[in-house]
């Protein structure tokens, strides 16, 4: 298996250094090697013309199929994401599954310079779900639910000790 793959999905190139920043942050937090991938096209069928957004469910299945050799795959994209009943999501993951996706579309809000750090947190958060972690109630933990950028900014960059233990357990089981 290829371990954890992080790939940029998009017609345009990723902002300079952004994917590298995420990879560096996630690698540090997960304590495992990451591989960088690239998807030059988005799955067209994920686009909902009426909403002008991309359906995360479709993207996750697509990522899973295209990276069959990866233990986990995280897609980073610049388009706005949704799940059918919700207005938008910053990201989405298969709980205890293989695929996760995050979007930069709403992470520029209020403070564009905060994008890399916010994206790092949300990437780790979604990968955490893929490792079976659910939302955490401990203030500061990266697995706390963040409905807005203010909450993303307020929380820490890494797992709390409890989530860390759960992640390590999940990783051990995966071996």
């Amino acid at each position: 298996m290829d371990g954890v793959v992080v790939c940029w999905i998009g017609e345009h190139e990723a902002p300079r250094g952004l994917v590298e920043h995420v990879v560096g942050h996630v690698r540090g937090a997960l304590g495992q090697r990451l591989r960088i991938g690239f998807e030059p096209e988005r799955p067209a069928e994920a686009r909902d013309a009426r909403r002008g957004q991309y359906d995360t469910g479709v993207i996750l299945k697509w990522l899973e199929a295209r990276h069959a050799g990866a233990a986990k795959v995280l897609g980073i994209t610049d388009v706005d994401l949704f799940i059918p009943v919700l207005t938008f999501v910053f990201g989405e993951a298969q709980l205890s599954g293989r695929a996760a996706v995050v979007s930069t579309a709403r992470l520029h809000a209020l403070d564009p310079a905060a994008l890399p750090r916010r994206l790092g947190k949300e990437s780790l958060h979604e990968l955490g779900h893929a490792f079976g972690l659910v939302h955490c109630g401990r203030p500061g933990c990266v697995m706390t639910r963040s409905p807005g950028v203010a909450e993303i900014d307020a929380k820490g960059d890494v797992f709390c000790p409890d989530c860390r233990l759960l992640y390590e357990e999940a990783r051990r089981h995966a071996r």
């Binding site: 469910g57 799940i83 059918p84 207005t87 993951a93 779900h129 659910v134 759960l166 357990e169």
Partner: protein, 458 residues
């Protein structure tokens, strides 16, 4: 209630909605199930329990959301129902609310709106549950005032217990079964500065050593087979409050060491865990066993005994404070009258004489049980001896042993009572002939109607 034990049902005919909504809520830690239509949802609601929230789509066939809501309310009135729709009109909203819906969500909804709403529902339900428990607690009476006694021995215990309550010291409550050790522990908690924090009780004899260990100290996910999620133990759950360890004399040697360590270090380590967690818990332990004897036999650690025996309180058995019986009877009847909804004024003099004559090996608990039975059986408002049932069947080995004649006398009296004084019928049950039974009735002077009831203390 943990999020994991909060169950949410999603009812929607669109698979994509069921899947995405379930997945979203699962990430909040809830347990989620989904149904594709009303009839399936109603069957699920009726079959399993409990459900905290039901999210129902408005437009469905064969039953629409409002019909499902109406039926769901009948099956699970406690579950909060939320209607979801893409086509909201004021009319349907009003109808939904009239049918008892908790709220109304317009699809697509804001992620925050959904999570906050569910959180609010769960918080309200927890409060309601807490309220119910508190009422029960209040009804059971946990203060010293409710430990009814005028005996000097008990008054001395109360004085000491009140002083102990104000300190944070470990208390060891000693006494026979049924003397009210748990009530005393609760009263100590209620009188202490910790009264607003939890009081948790664990019966150490009720669980195997492994289960007890996990119950007290908690476990990490995967600590053992079946440990599917992390579980904080009672020491953590009672944080800031009081932990009552009943039947402490029954714990095994390994747990004795672990408990000693916790009491010394004020830290617990969950089973399968490595990080010690600081705990602030006052321990009240209790036992009906003779700990010094257990130490002598080598089954109880002396150092643990010293750790627990900081403030020992010994509750005297009821037979040593019989002056309390009338007071206790009055108090218990008042409580039982409320609990059973039957107005009971008191007991007849004769009944009281029976109650005072008995040795009460099962102590106050036995007295309560006898009175409860009497309240249930009594037709009028005064309890008569015949309502008491056979006394003297408490804990074996602790009552004064009965002579063979006394056992026979009581047994015959009981059978005669059961047969309504019909000697032929009683003789058949006893498998003796009528003549023999008449001889015994004469011998034991059982002819008077009163004596057809089991007599005591003669």
């Amino acid at each position: 209630m943990s999020r994991k034990s909060t169950r949410i049902l999603v009812v929607d005919d669109e698979e994509i909605v069921r899947e995405s909504l379930s997945s979203w809520l699962r990430k909040d830690g809830y347990t989620v199930a989904a149904a594709a239509d009303g009839p399936t949802a109603l069957a699920m609601l009726a079959a399993e329990e409990p459900w905290a929230v039901v999210l129902v789509d408005l437009k469905m066939t064969p039953m629409d959301g409002l019909q499902v809501l109406e039926e769901a309310h009948k099956v699970r009135p406690d579950a909060a129902a939320v209607i979801m729709t893409a086509y909201a009109t004021v009319d349907t909203a009003v109808r939904a609310m009239k049918l008892g819906a908790y709220d109304y969500l317009m699809k697509p909804f804001d992620p925050e709106e959904l999570s906050i709403m569910v959180e609010k529902i769960v918080a309200q339900q927890s409060l309601r549950r807490e309220n119910l428990i508190l009422r029960k607690v209040l009804k059971r009476g946990y203060t010293f005032r409710d430990l009814v006694s005028k005996s000097p021995a008990m008054q001395a215990v109360f004085e000491l217990a009140k002083a102990a309550a104000k300190s944070g010291s470990t208390v060891l409550v000693l006494g026979e079964s049924g003397t009210g050790k748990d009530l005393l522990a609760r009263a100590i908690h209620a009188e202490s500065d910790r009264c607003t924090r939890p009081f948790l009780a664990v019966s150490c004899a009720a669980l195997t050593e492994t289960l007890l260990e996990s119950e007290l100290f908690g476990h990490e996910r995967g600590a053992f087979t079946g440990a599917t999620e992390r579980h904080p133990g009672k020491f953590e759950a009672a944080s800031g409050g009081t932990l009552f360890l009943d039947e402490i004399g029954d714990i095994g040697p390994k747990l004795q060491i672990d408990l000693l360590r916790v009491l010394e270090e004020r830290k617990v380590t969950r089973v399968g865990g490595t990080t010690p967690i600081a705990v602030d818990v006052r321990v009240v332990a209790a036992t009906n066993r003779q700990l010094p004897k257990l130490i002598e036999q080598g089954t109880f650690r002396q150092d643990l005994f010293y750790r627990l025996n900081v403030i020992p309180l010994t509750l005297p058995p009821l037979r040593e404070r019989k002056e309390d019986i009338p007071l206790l009877v009055g108090h218990l009847l008042e409580t039982l009258s409320v609990e059973t909804g039957k107005p009971v004024e008191g007991v007849s003099e004769e009944t009281m004489a029976h109650l005072l004559a008995h040795d009460w090996p099962g102590n106050v608990r036995e007295l309560r049980n006898v009175l409860e039975r009497a309240v249930v059986l009594a037709r009028g408002s005064v309890l008569r001896p015949e309502h008491l049932g056979p006394l003297g069947e408490g804990r074996p080995g602790t009552a004064k042993p009965l002579s063979l004649e006394e056992v026979e006398r009581r047994h015959i009296a009981e059978i005669l009572r059961q047969s309504g004084g019909n000697v032929s019928q009683a003789a058949r049950v006893l498998d003796i002939d009528r003549a023999t039974l008449y001889t015994k009735i004469r011998k034991y002077d059982l002819r008077r109607e009163d004596d057809l009831q089991p007599a005591h203390g003669r």
